[in-house]
């Protein structure tokens, strides 16, 4: 018998680092355990969604011999949740260096997620070979001008998906670019300042560690357009570890990878997959579940690892 209950699920997610449960309440996202979040879910207008990131299908290394298998485990965990997430956000690096067939494998596995919709933001691994051609042919549909960026509203929360990996070449860091910034300014202009905003993207929108390229060059301008809002939550991936930061009304949260962990900023000569045994790595990969509850509470964010299979 599968003994995964809600708490077990959360722990599992936190263990691997792939899944974060985000709870939105009163427009502020915050980190919380899954149990209180589930109690809040019954409140009218509340909902939860799951963030997965950096699935890196095609990766095969010391920390993980099969990134597709760990992604499948994450999907199984999501499907075991007592209430299915409203939707799933994938914050990029679906593939490991656009390995042949990897996009197909990810699509096949994610077809099995019991949820209404999956929204995507690309990672540099998904676009560096062909400038985003394959990614956009698969996921550009329905995004602004087919460029990959998008926004949608769900139960009073405004979600914005940004692309910050297509300006990568030769510039050394993530960037949003002029066209996308102009769109963002217009997109949020019509929103009331009390509308909770959730931004999802791949590379952090704050300066995590520029020496390793863990920064988005023109993020300050984007955040400037969001400053007037009472609640802004920025979700990203890229760095394969949970990091959180609060700056005024903006909460930044980076999710774990479902594939392999990366070293803490500056703790190793270079970023990249940590060379550690699979058993150890499973405590450092997973998912993020977020719950939103209308009222005075912040969004609840729970990171869960995969190590409790």
């Amino acid at each position: 018998m599968d003994r995964i209950d809600r708490r077990g699920f959360l722990e599992c997610m936190a263990w691997t680092g792939t899944g974060v449960l985000w709870a939105a309440a009163g427009g502020v996202l915050s980190s919380r355990l899954i149990a209180p979040a589930s109690a809040a879910e019954s409140a009218a207008g509340s909902f939860s969604f799951v963030q997965i990131s950096d699935t890196h299908v095609g990766f095969k290394g010391e920390a993980n011999k099969d990134a597709a298998a760990t992604l499948q485990q994450v999907v199984d965990r999501i499907n075991a949740m007592p209430s299915p997430p409203a939707f799933v956000l994938h914050t990029g690096d679906q593939t490991h260096g656009q390995k042949a067939g990897a996009f197909d494998t990810v699509a096949q596995i994610l077809k099995g997620v019991k949820t209404e919709a999956i929204f995507y933001a690309p990672g540099e691994h998904d676009v560096f070979l062909d400038g985003g051609k394959e990614y956009l042919s698969r996921y550009g549909k329905g995004t602004v001008g087919g460029n990959g960026w998008q926004s949608f509203d769900y139960k009073g929360t405004h979600f914005v998906g940004l692309v910050n990996v297509l300006k990568y070449k030769g510039e050394g860091m993530g960037a949003l670019g002029e066209a996308q910034l102009e769109w963002l300014e217009k997109d949020v202009a019509g929103q009331s300042s009390s509308t909770p905003i959730v931004v999802f993207t791949h590379v952090p929108l704050w300066s995590v560690y520029p020496q390793w390229g863990w920064v988005t060059e023109d993020a300050a301008r984007a955040l400037g357009y969001l400053r007037r809002f009472g609640s802004v939550t920025v979700l990203n991936g890229h760095i394969h570890q949970v990091l959180q930061k609060v700056e005024g009304n903006v909460v930044f949260h980076t999710a774990m990878s479902t594939a392999f962990p990366q070293p803490a900023p500056g703790s190793a000569p270079a970023p990249g997959p940590m060379k550690i045994p699979e058993e150890q790595a499973r405590r450092m990969i997973g998912t993020c579940e977020v719950t939103y509850v209308p009222g005075k509470h912040p969004l609840a964010v729970v990171d869960s690892t995969l190590d409790r299979g």
């Binding site: 490991h96 260096g97 540099e124 560096f128 860091m173």
Partner: protein, 116 residues
């Protein structure tokens, strides 16, 4: 005077070529015509960062990281796909020049091949 200079200009490359041939013979006994050089990639660094080779040399890159890297010419002269762990990419340089390249996934990684 003019004629003398012309002669010198003709002779000098011949001397260099002979020297290069002799050096190539000394290092690669069975393949005197081609020079082979290698650049390793480890911890997000190309090594050596600057490689000087003669015209006609073939340079092979090998990626020792588990993270993929590319060899992408800044001027668009050449470019590899993403190299997986221990995968290689080779290119033969037939023209003199300074070739700067970087990794398309990690653009801070930069290095140079000088072909003389």
């Amino acid at each position: 005077m003019k004629r003398h200079n012309g002669k010198l200009a003709w002779r000098l490359p011949a001397v260099i070529a002979a020297t290069a041939l002799a050096m190539a013979c000394a290092t690669v006994a069975h393949a005197p015509a081609a020079t082979r050089e290698a650049v390793g990639i480890k911890d997000f660094t190309y090594s050596p960062a600057t490689l000087t080779v003669p015209v006609g040399a073939t340079v092979t890159w090998i990626n020792h990281d588990e993270e993929p890297h590319t060899i992408t010419s800044a001027a668009g002269a050449f470019g590899s796909a993403g190299l997986s762990h221990e995968e290689t990419f080779a290119r033969t340089f037939t023209d003199r020049g300074t070739y700067q390249y970087f990794c398309a996934l990690h653009p801070r990684m930069r290095a140079t091949v000088i072909v003389k």
